[in-house]
Amino acid sequence: MGLSVEDTRALLIAVADSVVAAKDMLTEADSAIGDGDHGIGMAVGFEAAKKEIEGKDFADVGAVWKAAGMGIMKTSGGACGAVFSTLFRSAGKSLGAADTLETPALAAALAEAVDAIKARGGANLGDKTMLDALAPAADALAAQGDAPLPAALAAAAAAAEAGVEATKQMVAKTGKARPLGERSLGHADPGAVSTAVIFRAMRDHLAGQG
């Protein structure tokens, strides 16, 4: 059961491709309540993430996630670079030297990523950030226990989508949308939208494999 190091690499390449493909959609989402460059930063970062892991051998599952995070960290910049590189790097640290990726370990890794991102940016749940999609996805994954990854990630992707919807009812408390206050209501947080793209990509990549 679980994904091998090589399968994990393929999974994250699929994630990177999906984020890059979502560039215009993400930029559109950001234009509503930010400065309209979120998709550009995400695409730059995830193109680099793909480059870091494509055609390379990794010793363990954690190293794949860390390498993807380094790619984002070195190129993306902006809030999205800091946050999404922290996601992949801290998850990679948590996954460590495992040679397969299993649902419980991924759930624990994403829970650690939630804490690391909170510490990095000072945001909390309900502040209308990507955490409002990531935390429910991590929780949904944890609730799946030992379930196979394809089914567990389907649940996580659904939770992330629900999280994106929930951000529409939130008033931004951090980032460039914060001064909007009540005017940010009705719009989804672009970072949360990106997070949902990532989980959807993992779900779709594994669909039919479980």
Partner: protein, 335 residues
Amino acid sequence: MYAPKKIVNDPRNVVDELLEGMTLAGDGRLKQISGGRGIIRTDLPPDRVAVLIGGGSGHEPVFHGFVGPGMGDGAACGNIFAAPAPNIVFDVAQAIHRGRGVLFVYGNYAGDIMNFDMAAELCEEDGIAVQTVRVWDDITSAPPSEMDKRRGIAGDLLVIKVAGAAARTFGTLEEVAAATARGRDAIRSIGVAVRAGSIPETGHPTFDLGDDEIEIGMGAHGEPGVERTKLMPADPLVDNMMERLFADLPLAKGDKVCLVLNDLGSTTMMELYIVNRRVRQILDARGIEVYRTEAGRFVACQEMAGFSITLMKLDEELAGYLDQPADTLGYRRLG
């Protein structure tokens, strides 16, 4: 909405091409490092606290245009409107560090804070001491009780000027940081947007504003302001903005200020001087002395039209920092 017309090549290359051209304009006194995204002085004086500035590109001349004698020693440059990645900041810090630590000076935005903090951690692991002063002068972006949530706008110019002068004056990182923070705390700004700038790669404006509308307090990236209103003549607009500044920065008769009128990208000097005329009428009526006026483009947002008014309340020490010479592409002062 008008269609943006920019003189660029492939829009994906604007940052690289801009930084290459800007470095060449330094006539040998600037050089690029860190894949081109860091710009540092080639004539760094030895044995000084280093001043590292930086932020998103597209706001020229800030930040990279303020690298040179009397201001920044090096700049970390991000993508358009996006904070620089931590490794760029770290590379610049290593290159300009001369054994006395590095002061980070940048605008108070979530992305910048996270990336510069990550860079500060890398510096710490490398044995380089870092202190940080974030610029937060925009009074419309948070109430006085939450000063540290305010955005940095045209105040960047003066905070960087103070940092550069302080680095020339003091020997320790702590002293340079303290002087720079004192300068920062004396500065307040307010802006007004008349028309949006656009992001080169998408061609899209950063916000929508009706042809006959203006927005007071709108941020340099189109963050919403405090009041959207119909376009009005310069004098009542300046009256409105100055009232808000006075409410935030108490100034008494006899106080001295530095006044900065900043063009956000495509407001003309003609307009800035018309604004200046009214600002001076108001300050004169209150008995406030203008020690120094800076009018021009310092912190822009592509072709955004609009301007900001910045007041810095001066004492002798702060005035002394402003008096010191500076020689950068974006700001020059004779000693």
